[in-house]
Amino acid sequence: MARMKFLCDAERCIECNACVVACNNEHEVPWGINRRHVVTMKDGEQGEKSVSVACMHCTDAPCAAVCPVDCFYTTDDGIVLHDKDICIGCGYCFYACPFGAPQYPEQQAFGVRGKMDKCTFCAGGPGEDNSAEEFEKYGKNRIAEGKLPLCAEMCATKALLGGDGDEIADIYRQRVMKRGGRPQTWGWETAYKEGES
């Protein structure tokens, strides 16, 4: 059985934020919410690196461990999903998550927290697959259609990979071998080792 994972190749990510836009557009997420975000280190300096971060669908998910109403469940292939009808918007999962994945729409006055929203690995939530109700709450269920997460599928530099963890690890391992270990420089040559692929 596959274990679904995301991996972002920091050597290739160019901080275009297309993954963020694609996710927001595909799932029509509420205003103020980004299920995915791009984090940049050393912005504007030599050695700048960016990584695209969302829910990492942890094997031992801390969000699920701290949830007081047990609204989380994990699919056989390791996708962590949650039920918005059970969620009380307490924010415990936000504190527990090391990636800042859980988000809360501010739909009312005084910043009242709405139900938690997070990346679903494009696998929706409880309810009939790709029904209007599922789409409204969780967005599109691409996995049920035999597709992979849009953020990874449309990444122009193939920095963001999403799918079976073993396959993704193989792709990344091959890249690292081509690059010759841990790169000390940065740029196109480092990321693609032009002429060898």
């Binding site: 059985m1 701290v66 047990d70 939530g125 697959d129």
Partner: protein
Amino acid sequence: MAQLIRRAGAVLTVTLLLGGCYESPDVTLHEPGEYKGPDDPFLEKAADPEHQEQLQQRLARGQTDR
């Protein structure tokens, strides 16, 4: 004698102060509770080997390096 009492007092104070800084290394680990919401029909589909194969092919087609 007074010096001895002062020393003993100082040792006791330091011990109590340091004792206050002690933190138990035992961490309470919480296991996730059981999900009690409605069933997700997607779970059955996700476990289907044919569906898994479809996703593998999709990954190989779209995300491997060319």
